[in-house]
C-alpha cells in the first residue's frame, strides 16, 4: 500500500493535494485505482452551541500524532486490502470554511475503498491525538471534548 500522511500548519487545498498525490503515484508507475473514495472535512461557521465561530485551534502531540495516524492507516488499509492511502490534516489555527482533513483511499473495488475511507476517518477522529479549541467572536474560547455526531 502506498501511504502518505502530512500535517499542515497552514491552509491547504484538498484538490491540489489530491492532484499532486495522483501525479506522484503515476510517476511511480502505480496504475490508477479503479475505485477511489475520498472525504474532505471543513471547519463549520458555528460552534457546537450554535454561536458564530471565529476560528478553530488544533493542538496535536508532535510525533505521536503522526505515528498513530500511520498505524491506523496501515491497520485499516491492510484489513481492507486497499492500494493507496493519503491523509492530510490541519494543525494550528483553522478558519471557518478551511479544510481540516482529507482522506483518500484507492482500491480495486468500491466496497473496500468506501469502507476503509469511512473507518479510517472514524479511527483518526477517536484515536489520533488531536484537540480542538473553539474561538468565539468575543475572544473567549473552549476546548471541544468529543466529536460531532456521525
Amino acid at each position: 500500500m502506498r501511504l502518505r500522511i502530512a500535517l499542515h500548519n497552514e491552509a491547504f487545498e484538498p484538490l491540489d493535494d489530491l492532484a499532486r498525490w495522483h501525479a506522484e503515484l503515476q510517476a511511480q508507475s502505480h496504475p490508477r485505482s479503479a475505485a477511489e473514495s475520498l472525504f474532505i472535512g471543513r471547519v463549520r461557521g458555528e460552534t457546537a452551541d450554535g454561536s458564530a465561530l471565529a476560528a478553530l485551534e488544533l493542538e496535536h502531540y508532535p510525533g505521536m500524532t503522526e505515528r498513530q495516524l500511520e498505524q491506523l492507516a496501515q491497520d485499516c488499509g491492510t484489513r481492507h486490502g486497499v492500494r493507496s492511502c493519503l491523509i492530510q490534516h490541519r494543525i494550528g489555527r483553522v478558519l471557518p470554511g478551511e479544510a481540516i482533513v482529507l482522506v483518500a483511499i484507492g482500491a480495486d473495488r468500491r466496497g473496500p475503498a468506501q469502507r476503509c475511507c469511512q473507518e479510517l476517518l472514524e479511527a483518526l477522529k477517536h484515536d489520533a491525538p488531536f484537540w480542538k479549541k473553539e474561538w468565539h467572536r468575543d475572544g473567549s474560547s473552549s476546548w471541544i471534548t468529543g466529536n460531532t455526531p456521525f
Binding site: 498513530q68 482533513v101 489520533a128 471534548t145
Partner: protein
C-alpha cells in the same frame, strides 16, 4: 559531549488538561526501575492532576498504555484529555 541519557520520567499534558493544571511538561525523578514499579496512576495522584484518571488516556513513549503499566527511567508519559480530531 552531548547530554547524559535522561533518567527521570518526562511527563506531558495537552489541551484542556494542560490549561487546567497550569503546566505543559515536567520531569519526575526516577533513577532506576522501582519495586513495585511506578505507574501512571501513581503519578496522576502524586501530581494532584484534576478530575478522575478515567477521563484521560495515557501514552507511554507515544503509545497508548494502561494506567498500571510500569514506568522506567527515560520514559515519556503523557496524559491525554478526550480527543477531537478530524
Amino acid at each position: 559531549m552531548g547530554e547524559p541519557p535522561a533518567n527521570g520520567i518526562r511527563i506531558r499534558l495537552f489541551a484542556g488538561l494542560r490549561e487546567q493544571a497550569g503546566w505543559a511538561e515536567q520531569q519526575w525523578p526516577l533513577n532506576a526501575a522501582s519495586e513495585p514499579p511506578l505507574t501512571p496512576q501513581q503519578l496522576w495522584e502524586a501530581l494532584q492532576l484534576p478530575g478522575p484518571l478515567s477521563s484521560v488516556r495515557i501514552a507511554i513513549n507515544q503509545q497508548f498504555s494502561r494506567a498500571d503499566a510500569p514506568l522506567n527511567p527515560g520514559d515519556e508519559l503523557a496524559f491525554l484529555p478526550p480527543i477531537s480530531g478530524g
